[in-house]
Structures are given as C-alpha cells and as structure tokens.
Subunit: 457 residues, 2 copies
C-alpha cells in the first residue's frame, strides 16, 4: 500500500516513482540578505529538502542570493551570488523573493520592485509590514502576487496562520502576546534572580539576545510592530502602527516585581489588542497577569500569544519567538503556501490581512486614555495616620473600586510606607486623574507607580 | 482609504459595495447530525455570517440538515430538513457535506457516498479518520475532493493546520498532547483536591464531561484515535490506529499523584509520538512531566499539544479540546479552507496527511516493548534491611540507571515501605524484565507500579 518516492537531492526537479517517472520543475527563490535568518533558511531548505518536497509536491531551489559581502560560513555551492539586490528582484528566473535585509527604505523599494516584476514575496520584516504594509499589500493585489509574513511575528510560531485561517469562524474579542523575547528574558531574570533591569540588560547584550541599541526591544517598539500586524488580521482593520500605545520595561523595579508576586501576579511585557464597542485598544506595556495563567509561565526568550474568539474561547500559541532556524521555519512554511497558491485563483487566496481588502473595518483605534484595564498602584506614603483613608477616598470619589490592598512596613532607608493597591477595571483617563490627586496629597512622596493588570481568562 | 462592504444577511449572495454591486453565490453546505457540535456549527455560521464572509470572500449557507428527530432548540428557518442522510449527500445543490453523526459504519458509508457524488466533506469524527482514513482519503483523491478534519483532534485548537502547514519546513522529532479533556479533568481534580479516580469520574459523568460508558475516554481509545491522526501528519506515515499502544488512567492512585508531586512532576494522560531510527513510537499512557513545563500546567478539560521540529524547536498549542462552539470553530475553519480550494488546482492542495500521498513513508510503528522512556516505579517492600540494595542491584545488573529515589516511612495499615524510583531512559522490554525480577523478590509485596516519565524539553 505504501510507496516511497525519491527526491533527487540535486534539485533537478526529477522525481522517480514506483510507477515510472515524472518531472515537476522546482520553484526558484532568491534570498536578499544572508544574516542569521537568511543563513537559517538556506540551511533548513537544504537539510530538509526531501521532507519539504514530500509536503509541497514540488522542490524549492535557492537560485540566487544577494549579499553585500561573502559569508563563507554558508555553503552556497551552485547558487548565483550578487551584491545587488535589484539584480535579484529583476532576475526573470526567480519566482519568489525572500526579503531579509530589514529596515524600511531599501527593503520597501525592493519589495515593491519585486511585486512590480510579478514575483511573490516572503518577508520577516515586521517594521516594514507594520508601517508600509497597507501600501505593499495594495500593490501586491494589483499585481496578483502574495506577500507572506508569518516570520514577522513570534518567530517560528505559526500564529498568523492560526488567526487568519484556523480561527476564521470567530469574532475575535482580544489577543495578548509576549512577542519580544529580549524583554521577556529580562523580566524572567528579574523575577527569578532578583536582578535589576540594567544588570540583566547588560547580560542580554553580552549573550546576543539584545542589540547594542536595545531601544526597539525594551521600549516596546518591536512588540508594537508585531501587535499592529496581529490586530489587523484579528479584527479586519488596516495596519495603524502610528496609533499603537507603547510603553517599555525600562522603569520596572525589582520591588514591583516582588510586590506583584506577593499579590499572586507575574509582570510580563504584553502586547494587548481588544475590540470594544467604542473602538480597538492597541497597547504595549508591562502587565500584571495572575500567576496561574499559562502565559504568565512563559519564561526566558520564549514567545506566546493568547487569542480569544467568541466561538473557540481562549487559545494559546507558544514557541521560539526569534532565532536562526525558528524564523526560517516560518519563512519556509510561507514558501510552501506560496508554491500551492501558484495554481489557485488569485482572487480567492487567503487575504493578506485575513479579511477581503474591500471589507476592512474603519472601527477606530482608541487613544490610551480611552482604554480600560485594572491597575496596580504603588504609593510611597509618609508614616502618618489617615493616609490610607485619604487614598481610599480619592479613589472612591472617582468610582474606582479597590480589588486588593497591601500595606508594607515602614522602609528603613526613607521612613516611607509602600502602599500597594490593585483596582477593578476602569478607563485610563479616570486613573490618570486619580493619580494626579494622589500625588498632590501632602503625605504622598514622589510619583505613584502604575502598572496595568489583565486577567486573561 | 477604508471601505466597508455589506453582506446581505439573508444569504442571497448579493454584495453591495461603494463602487457598485456584484454577485457571488454562497457555497451550500449540508449538515448530517444536529447534536451539540452540529447545533454549535449552525449557531456560529449564523451569528458570525458577516465576519466569516468578510474573510472567505463568499457566503456559506446551510442548505439542508439531516436529523432523525426535530431539534426545536435550533432555529432552522429556511433550511430544508430531512431524516435521511442519503437524501442530503445526494442533494445536487450541496457543495460540502458536514459529517457529525459519529461512529464508523453509517458515517463511513455516507462520507464515501458524498465523495462519490463529488462533494467535499468536513468531519469531526476522529474514530472514522483514525480507522478508515486511508481508504477515505484515497477515494477523495480519485474524485478530486477534500476531506477536512481539523475538528477531529483537540476541538477548537488549529493544531492540524499548525503541523500540516505551519511547520512544513520541519522534520518533526516528536509530539505529545493532552488530547482528552475528560481524562485531564479527572487527573486535575485528583491532584488539586486529593480525590480518587472513581469519585471524580462519577462527578465528570454528572457534569456531562464523561459519557455513561467512559471507556473511550478513560482507557485512552479516544486519545489514541487523535494521536494516530497527529502522528500521520507529523511523520508522513499512513494512519495505523491498530498499532497504537493504549493505556488508560483507571489504575492511577492518589498516592502516585502525590509522590509524583513530591518528586517535582505532574501526572498527565499523554499521547506521545516520536520518530526514532528504528521506527515510530505511538503510545497513550499516564506520564510524569516536570511540573515547570507549560503542558504540565494545562488543567481541567483543556487540551494542549506540544510539537517539536528540528528547525522550530518545541511549540505548544492550547485551547478547548471539545464543546459545542470550540468544535464548530474548527469545522467552519475547514469550510473556509474548502471554499478557497474550490478554485485551486486539485493536485496542488495541502495533502490530507500533510505529505503527498505517493510519498508516505513505511517507517514502522514500534511495538511498546521497543519504545524508550524513563520510568517512575513504586515498590511496596517489607521493612527489612537490605531491600534497597537488592532493588538497586537488579536495576544495575540490567544497565538501568536511577535518576532519583525516595523512600517513605513505614505505612501504618500494612507495615510496608513504599520505595519510589525514577530511572533514566531505557527500552521498555528492559524495564519489564527488571520489574519481573523485582516482583519475584521475597521482600517485595504485590505488583510494582510503573508510570512512564517524559521530559518534554
């Protein structure tokens, strides 16, 4: 019953078969940029050529690579090399262009040129898609080609596919993700070892988890790029990166990590997108999550995305969010999808943003002041009687209910009493107003620390 | 920039548009069986008609339902009703048949008839696919139709899609899943509340989580059906349910649950499939998992599947494994996929078992005696000096290394000493031989309890 079929490793496109022999030409791809991810893609395409061809029904051959300088660590035997990415995107032999050079300017130019040349594009460039995706997808539709971007969000986790296809029956209510491995590594170390933010950041940089300029990771910009993409495919809205609220983890202290723990929470740097009647919340910030939630237990550089749909309830997708071969895994999955789509009706493909381009919604992105969440507040108060009553009265006057409260002993070094509160859900503008009033109290010293809280049921 | 497009809820197939008007006829589906899942499918298709159409680019209309007796709780206005499933599968109006009657005999007959009639099929019937899938898929290929079965494994979690498409770049090394919600509910209650197996089973039956005859769930047959399917799409092998090893949870005691906990493990009922040089392990059994693994913290009726690929590493997919609307979520996702595939080259679709049918591998399924794992052993010994030495010598003589050991105090009721061991990895035949030798010792009373241990890194 079972027949084996043998794939000629030399990528000649010949298949031999118990029944005879037939020919299917391999699809020819070009890789722009041979950094970590490009190298991983080359390695996996070679190592798993047989397995991938057995799935796709057609070989995938790397025909050309464009790089600025040679990379002797990769075996590029038999592959045409060029230092000019435009030579590659203009190469008539190439069916699919893999864009891995990163950044906005040159990457955008070459992706648009590839599209104009009728080539499909696979990219891992989250910044490019989040910022210029609407324009790129419009051009791709005009030309009848696909721009695939699974690798742009959460590395090897097939979360774009899960939301765009696997949950197609659902009205998505919300999603929340740990989508920056560097940030999660730092927070995991702070919690597990009581280390400070600058201390762990320095180690992450030494380990190569964090860039020399860590701004994109620790200020939440990278996460906001990914969240922007996830929100579009979940809710059927155009990409609107400029409207995402972004708050980093640089101000987090071990004191807050420990107080959160004592209250039964973990602090994670989350991207949260939620659909409400008034609009869509799109926000990246440190977040307290109940410690017993699966996502609260995602540690180190790993990523995870929770997606809640009205039919399916809450689902979670977990895996490596970055790295050489995990990212290559998503790029090659996209290649296989494109290979299949080559013989499908171009008007009947999975739409770039999950919803038919003419049916995107204009439901607005809410400003952060209109977003709703529960809040963790840490107030440094003088050790005077009546402070708690003043605090409680400021909150209750604004209709803000307290979920739990923890008052610590007087701290030796400054004689102040840390007072920690968790509120019920309230609109951000209201908590801002309450915090101003709290900071104006004579017995409250310095700024009130505020961290959002999500239950993620 | 954003235009809204309005879908006529009456499913007339007309779309109005800012630019004018065009017509796309909705796809017509028939539902065989209107139990929990059928009702959920009907509800979600109605409630989310607009969202689903905005994604699929085409409406999905339930044209006919076949049920034995009317179900007044569902609104079937405008839908043709019949008590004869064959009237439905012979209905020339219907493009896609949804099979939800369950079982093997009638379900198989109607699925084959639908295929012969050139209709695509969507099913949630794991038993049918695991046992008759090879025959059904062969017939479907002949006729150029799709048989989709995402709902057959892990309810609403899009894990078939994740493995078959999302991880297409990978050589899958192993997968392990909590794929039976009833079993996981029972084990979660035993651990959290110290309850016994029969006690929790009775409650699960009262809550409707377990059938009146719970054999399929608690003996692991349901999990083995699902594991058989997952293994085929992961490794590119034909479905071989008859070769799966199946062990239930009926013999598990709270004592073992507690000892496992003390050793840093949780006991879960897992389906495990692993590729080795010699063949493929395919086994369902209670398993100790280190307590800090994400999958060890999946509780209650929830499901989760870990998949480890050579490029991506370990990934995990979590969500509701059963229930009315979670299962409907997967059925409708399959419908949308089929709608898209209607205009694609039939020879270039995602293959039923992930790999091209002519390229399935004949790598054999290993008998359980040839499978390898670590083992938890509980030995009830008389309180005599020298027993530990005898035990240790039996294991070491067979090359079985001990990872950890825990000797408890003498138990009051029987004067015996429970001795708990965790071994390193070893082939099952070897541990069987060692257990026989242990049970033959004069100071060992009764059977040695043996539970497999997996690290799942």
């Amino acid at each position: 019953m079972v027949r084996l079929f043998f794939y000629d490793r030399a990528c000649s496109g010949r298949f031999t078969h118990a029944d005879g022999e037939f020919s299917v030409k391999p699809v020819k791809v070009g890789i722009c940029g041979l950094g970590t991810v490009g190298g991983g893609t080359l390695n996996v395409l070679k190592r798993n050529a047989e397995e991938i061809t057995r799935r796709a029904g057609r070989g995938i051959e790397v025909a050309q690579i464009a790089i600025r300088s040679p990379k002797p660590q990769y075996d590029t035997t038999g592959i045409s090399m060029t230092s000019d990415v435009f030579e590659l995107v203009n190469n008539p032999e190439i069916d699919i262009v893999i864009e891995l050079i990163g950044g906005y300017t040159l990457a955008k130019e070459l992706v648009l040129k590839a599209i104009d040349n009728g080539k499909h594009v696979v990219t891992a460039n989250k910044a490019l898609i989040a910022v210029h995706g609407n324009e790129i997808f419009a051009r791709a539709r005009e030309k009848g080609v696909i721009v695939a971007f699974e690798a742009a969000v959460a590395g090897g986790i097939p979360v774009i596919k899960a939301i765009r296809e696997g949950l197609a029956a659902n009205r998505i209510n919300w999603l929340a993700g740990i989508i920056n491995g560097t940030g999660n590594f730092i927070l995991s170390e702070m919690r597990e070892k009581g280390r400070t933010f600058p201390d762990v950041l320095a180690e992450a940089q030494a380990l190569g988890y964090a860039e020399a300029d860590p701004t994109f990771d620790v200020e939440g910009i990278d996460a906001a790029h990914k969240l922007t993409i996830l929100a579009s495919i979940a809710f059927g809205i155009p990409l609107q990166f400029d409207k995402a609220y972004t708050e980093g983890i640089t101000q987090l202290t071990t004191a807050d990590v420990n107080y959160a723990e004592a209250l039964g929470y973990r602090i994670k740097h989350l991207g949260v997108a939620r659909r409400t009647e008034a609009g869509i919340e799109l926000r990246v910030h440190p977040t307290l999550i109940p410690a017993d939630r699966l996502i609260a237990n995602v540690n180190g550089v790993m990523n995870a995305v929770m997606v809640n749909g009205d039919a399916v309830g809450s689902t979670l997708y977990y895996g490596a969010g970055a790295g050489m071969e995990p990212t290559a895994s998503s790029i090659i999955a996209d290649l296989v999808d494109v290979v299949r789509a080559l013989t499908a009706d171009p008007t009947n493909r999975v739409p770039h943003l999950a919803f038919q381009p003419d049916s995107l919604s204009d439901h607005p992105i809410l400003p952060i002041e209109a977003c709703e969440s529960a809040y963790y507040l840490r107030i440094q108060a003088k050790d005077h009687p009546g402070v708690l009553a003043q605090v409680a009265s400021i909150l209750s006057a604004r209709g803000i209910n307290i979920e739990s409260i923890m008052q610590k002993e007087v701290e030796e070094q400054d004689g102040l009493v840390p007072m920690i509160l968790v509120t019920h859900r309230v609109v951000e503008a209201q908590i801002n107003e309450a915090i101003s009033a709290l900071e104006a109290l004579e017995d409250v010293v310095g700024r009130v620390v505020r961290i959002r809280v999500e239950q993620l049921n």
